[in-house]
Amino acid sequence: MEVWYLIIANPILNVLVALTQLLGGSFGWAIIALTVIVRLISWPLTKRQLKSTKAMQEMQPKIQELQKKYGKNQQKLQQEMMKLYKEAGINPLGCLWPMLIQLPIWIALYQAIMSALATAPESLLGLAQRLYSWDIANQAIPLASSFLGLDLAGQGNIILAIIVGGTMWVQQKMTTAPTVDSRQQSTNRMMTLLMPLMFGFLTLMFPSGLALYWAVSNVIGIVTQYFVTGGWGYLRPRSLSQPR
């Protein structure tokens, strides 16, 4: 636990509080700035992920051919697809890293929000032991929790849930390759809906500050995907048979 606070939780908390002071006392803007910083730090991984997405998009005609050819032999299909990925120099598992990196950040951010906004007296007192001796951090305390009509320490509302779910859906849709396999189509459809619905639901359960992070992170993801992959990807797919 000590290591967790030392390496992840306390640095995120202190940066967040210092950003709040730098940004005129607005905790909401501090969360947005932190999201941008996290996105910048994870940019090398994101870039690799986006390149893989683009390469996979370009590979779609070949993948569809394989699906048509080996549709009834799943084992063979997977072998052929892995071969194809290997030839193209793509590691399909590589795209999981940006997502896995997000998990400890979410947890630390959740803790930072609850601690920094000090909804309970214990949180405020506990903050004293977690803040660095930076003047900028101490002068910001205690933080105000309202931002654009949101209570950042309170549970998210339905509008925020729709924004989080909607932006996640767009981001997923941009990268979900179409397929001719009907079973795969239904799995894809379910995934594209399930994750946004789940995060929309989480928005209603968790502090708005965390949902703000998700929403901004999704928007940044959409924008970077748009520019790096050169368009809306599979959000506006052309005919399946038409090579990209």
Partner: protein, 416 residues
């Protein structure tokens, strides 16, 4: 991208569920674990009156303990509250009301503020007979603080009893004056901290003026009679600091002393009306942490505990440091004077006794160091040679300064 991967690997529904679990599990663990939780039992301190110790427990009760027999005289359970759900919380549950304010005793009535936003006047006789609360014929009453468009009406600060009235700071940002006999509302102040809407510090009174400090760094002077600011004009505060004030104020000879989140202790003269404080302590660089609790004053000397673990003796007029002592653990409760002895307790529950008649250089040396055996955040009281401490473990400890040890302790939790 993830879906492309899953397309590649012919992901089955079980795998989708696994992914959901991977995402949800850490968040669930965090929100259900103690470090994700917001609820706690409060840090109500001890008060002693006619040999009876009064204290709020961590399980939402006010108890009276006979200091001679060490027996429980009576206990009153405050109505539990529904805990707000947080994150993927483990459901809404009914939990004991937290009590942060130390009981205030006046003749046969014990006053207490609760985190559920109530002020209760408990009659000792009625409580010892376990009668239904409130017994108006015994002078009992309860007052419910309005939420008033704020997030909370919780009462965290100690109540201030002065004359015929009780003054209450609320988490809704207002101060209330109540009639101590019937609990009737005399007045309510305007919202004093629009930014945070929480007043977790107690006011102080000098003459006809009530002084309140806020987390947005202001000191207000309100009329004791009406609750209206005595400053005519805008702004209507008497002092403004860049950082918020962490501790409740104390007043001595027209000067307010209070700790700030910028790790300084401020002295503000209330008669001058200057934008500058009289002094800030430490004079060179800030202390290692916040001055969380108000200092105490004796013969022109302030004794202030700091969350950096150091207790300081400071000359009230000049802010000059007379001596200091580092206890090595945060000091989250105000020192107490016992004749010529200064009692300091840090969060790890070590009791330090300083002989104020001794000549200290810059560094003080305690006369006694006694371990209570419990973590301590609550205010404590002392009588005779005994110090009564409520630990974070929900036990009460009687520490004998002369004997240099805990002479008795009592579990305050309800026995199953």
């Amino acid at each position: 991208m993830a879906t492309t991967l899953f397309t590649s690997y012919k992901m089955k529904k079980a795998k989708i569920l696994l992914l959901i679990v991977i995402v949800l599990l850490p968040l669930t663990l965090v929100s259900c674990s103690p470090w994700g939780s917001q609820s706690a039992g409060g840090w109500a301190g001890t008060a002693i009156h006619d040999g009876i110790i009064y204290v709020g427990t961590r399980d939402g009760r006010v108890v009276a303990i006979n200091s001679s027999t060490e027996n429980l005289e009576w206990a009153y359970s405050i109505a539990p509250v529904t805990a707000p759900s947080s994150g993927l919380s483990c459901g809404q549950t009914s939990v004991p009301t937290a009590i942060y304010s130390t009981p205030v005793v006046d003749s046969d009535i014990v006053y207490i503020g609760t985190y559920s936003g109530q002020v209760l006047a408990l009659n000792m006789l009625a409580r010892s007979q376990n009668l239904t609360f409130p017994q108006q014929r015994y002078g009992e009453w309860e007052w419910n603080c309005p939420i008033d468009n704020a997030k909370s009406n919780a009462i965290v600060a100690d109540l201030l009893l002065s004359g015929d009235n009780i003054y209450v700071s609320s988490s809704n940002g207002r101060v209330y004056s109540l009639d101590k006999e019937f609990g009737d509302l005399n007045w309510e102040s305007k919202v004093l901290d629009e930014k945070h809407r929480k007043l977790w510090t107690s006011p102080v009174i000098q003459g006809n003026t009530l002084y309140v400090s806020t987390y947005d760094g202001h000191v207000y002077a309100l009329s004791v009679e009406t609750g209206v600011s005595i400053v005519n004009g805008i702004p209507d505060w008497i002092f403004e600091s860049e950082a918020g004030f962490a501790s409740s104020p104390v007043i001595y000879e027209n000067t307010i002393f209070l700790g700030s989140f910028d790790r300084y202790l401020y002295a503000v003269n209330v008669t001058i009306g200057s934008d500058e404080p009289m002094w800030k302590f430490p004079q060179e660089k800030p202390a290692g942490n916040w001055f969380w609790t108000p200092p105490i004053i004796n013969e022109g000397i302030l004794y202030a505990g700091c969350l950096d673990g150091t207790v300081y003796a400071i000359e009230a007029k000049t802010g000059a440091k007379l001596w200091e002592f580092n206890t090595e653990d945060p000091i989250g409760t105000s020192p107490v004077l016992m004749d010529n002895l200064l009692i300091v307790i840090n969060e790890s529950g070590t009791v330090y006794v300083f002989d104020l008649s001794a000549e200290f250089g810059g560094e003080a040396a305690p006369l006694q160091t006694i371990s209570s055996g419990a973590d301590v955040r609550s205010a404590f009281c002392a009588q005779g040679s005994l110090v009564y401490i409520r630990g974070e473990d929900n036990w009460i400890y009687a520490v004998d300064i002369d004997a240099g040890r805990v002479i008795w302790n009592l579990n305050l939790a309800v026995e199953e």
